[in-house]
């Protein structure tokens, strides 16, 4: 069972703002989904190798050669708040 406090903790990790209503629904919905997922908890998989990827690949390398990229102005055209050739963001520290 997922409690309200856990929802808040996970939302903080995910940098996701949730309304009070969303927190309540989320607690119930996540609990329901995890109850189903918990069916695999009881399987004896001791010693089974985990699969993170199905294609067997090792060290795909390429020469490290400089190549032209997009002009800075082009990339900044998509930015919500470009400024002086950079991405401007609010201060990391809340103002007192």
């Amino acid at each position: 069972m997922i409690e309200r406090e856990q929802v808040l903790h996970v939302a903080k990790l995910a940098r996701l703002g949730l309304s009070d209503e969303e927190i309540e629904t989320m607690a119930g919905e996540l609990s329901g989904i995890l109850e189903h997922v918990d069916r695999i908890a009881g399987l004896d998989l001791e010693g089974v190798e985990p699969t993170s990827h199905v294609v067997e690949l090792e060290n795909v390398l390429r020469p490290d050669e400089p190549r032209p990229s997009w002009p800075r102005e082009t990339v900044l055209e998509q930015a919500p708040d470009p400024s002086d050739g950079a991405f401007r963001v609010p201060s990391p520290q809340a103002e007192a």
Partner: protein, 478 residues
């Protein structure tokens, strides 16, 4: 429906190449059809041709799921957070289609970030099923499937992470192919769950699916997991199924399937036998745990992939008076829909300290067992077959209140995604929905070993010819 729009893509390409049909006239016929979109299938439509290259797809318009980046053309992934976003580059798969002569017809609606099985999670409104506007087209490639089935596009591409090509193809009565993981480059495909995401075609028939796959598959240096299909892909031509062994997984077949879907499935098994194929029941003991493993692995990967939407470099930024963290939190709160938030939360939880081994670690081990089950089956059999979806298209709003019920739609498609193997859904017949009403399409799923696409397409073609499915939604000729 105009005579031109009755042609399959393979037929149209041949007539254009022979000079019997003008590519401009063909494009205009589809542009006009797409302009009459009454299904909310499109998010953007092209006014004119742009490609014009010669090749196997010369003059063929393709509807592109809005998950694929298209240079200068708005690409939203069905999300508010990417509203107005114009990518700087075009996805490799789309580029390959255009290089083969295809024209981009439009960008299709989808569940936000490909998370959903009904298209009700799009920030731009749900797509309607062309067979019954009160029902869902399936998801997440619902716009692509509805456009093809509804006569608004000759063919389309989509992406499949846990069934997102196959399930909407089944619910709309068309062909949908999820190739082997690694067959087609993921470069420029907006990431959902990177170890599962794969691009594929949604088409009127198996031959058209082969034609699009042939154009899109191949290695791409920009996606180091793309390896392509050795020997390429040719158009299918098999006429019987003699000597081929089809396995029906006992565990999957036992699960709750609508009576009408079961009837069509069993009739299709009989057709396979009539064509000389052999049907045997087999065991895939871990496949039933597919949903549990998938709904840990996919959200875990998504929670990481979607961390990039932070309101800094592109997309939405919420107006806040507070600090940087508040800007992140508010931007993501405003930009993401309910299902995306749910999956980010689920994935973050599964990866968080104290739960990682119990959830993510265990799910990855289940994934190993599911892949091993398929390997064991393919040592004895050529294909594994199941219904694509446990039900025909369900009603709009019917399952939105219960996320788990929605997830269980993917019961038959998720195991193949976890194993990375190719699987196709072909229309096998019509069935009455539970609770009554006009009959709706049923999909038949065939899965094959990794990179056995040619064999899969050949067998699917033989079966398709024998089934002879030619029903179309009312008002859509064919």
């Amino acid at each position: 429906m105009s005579e031109l729009r009755r042609l399959t893509v393979t037929e149209a390409a041949a007539r254009i190449a022979a000079g019997d049909v003008s590519p401009d006239e063909y494009f205009a016929a589809w542009r006009d059809a797409a302009a009459g979109d009454d299904l909310n299938a499109y998010l953007w439509r092209a006014e004119d041709t742009q490609g014009g290259a010669e090749g196997p797809l010369g003059g063929i318009p393709v509807a592109i799921k809005d998950l694929f980046c298209t240079e200068g053309v708005e690409t939203t992934a069905g999300s508010r957070i990417l509203e107005g976003h114009r990518p700087l580059y075009t996805a490799h798969a789309v580029w390959r289609l255009v290089a083969a002569g295809a024209e981009i017809l439009g960008k299709t609606n989808m569940d936000e970030f490909a998370m959903g099985s009904s298209n009700e999670n799009s920030a731009y409104g749900p797509v309607l099923n062309p067979w019954d506007h009160g029902r869902v087209p399936g998801g997440s490639s619902g716009g692509s499937a509805a456009a093809v089935a509804g006569g608004l596009a000759p063919c389309a591409i989509g992406t499949d992470t846990g069934g997102s090509i196959r399930q909407p193809a089944a619910l709309c009565g068309i062909v949908g192919l999820k190739p082997t993981y690694g067959a087609i480059s993921r470069y420029g495909m907006i990431a959902f769950a990177s170890s599962l995401d794969q691009c594929g075609p949604l088409t009127r028939d198996v031959t058209d699916a082969a034609l699009l796959l042939a154009a899109m598959q191949g290695r791409d240096p920009c996606d180091s997991t793309s390896v392509g299909i050795e020997g390429g892909v040719r158009l299918p031509d098999r006429e019987d199924l003699s000597g081929l062994r089809f396995a029906v997984p006992a565990e999957l077949a036992r699960d709750s399937i609508e009576p009408g879907v079961r009837e069509v499935f069993e009739a299709t098994l009989a057709t396979i036998e009539r064509l000389g194929g052999e049907i045997t029941e087999t065991a895939l003991p871990h496949a039933e745990h597919g949903i549990s493993a998938y709904y840990v692995i996919a959200p875990a990967e998504a929670s990481s992939n979607l961390a990039r939407y932070d309101g800094v470099r592109y997309g939405l930024r919420a107006e806040t008076a507070g600090d940087l963290v508040e800007m992140y939190e508010t931007t993501r709160a405003e930009g993401f829909g309910a299902e995306v938030k749910r999956r980010i939360m689920l994935g973050t939880y599964a990866l968080s300290s104290g739960y990682y081994d119990a959830y993510y670690g265990q799910a990855q081990k289940v994934r190993t067992k599911i892949a091993a089950d398929f390997s064991a089956a393919f040592a004895e059999f050529d294909f594994v077959v199941t219904p694509t979806s446990p039900s025909v298209a369900f009603g709009l709003g019917e399952k939105t209140a219960d996320p788990l019920a929605m997830y269980l739609n993917d019961f038959f498609t998720v195991p193949m995604s976890l194993a990375g193997i190719p699987a196709i859904s072909i229309p096998a017949g019509l069935a009455e929905p539970e609770g009554g009403g006009p009959r709706l399409p049923v999909g038949f799923q065939i899965a094959a070993p990794a990179f056995a696409e040619q064999k899969l397409l050949d067998a699917s073609y033989a079966l398709e010819q024998a089934i002879g499915f030619d029903a179309r939604p009312e008002g859509v000729g064919g």
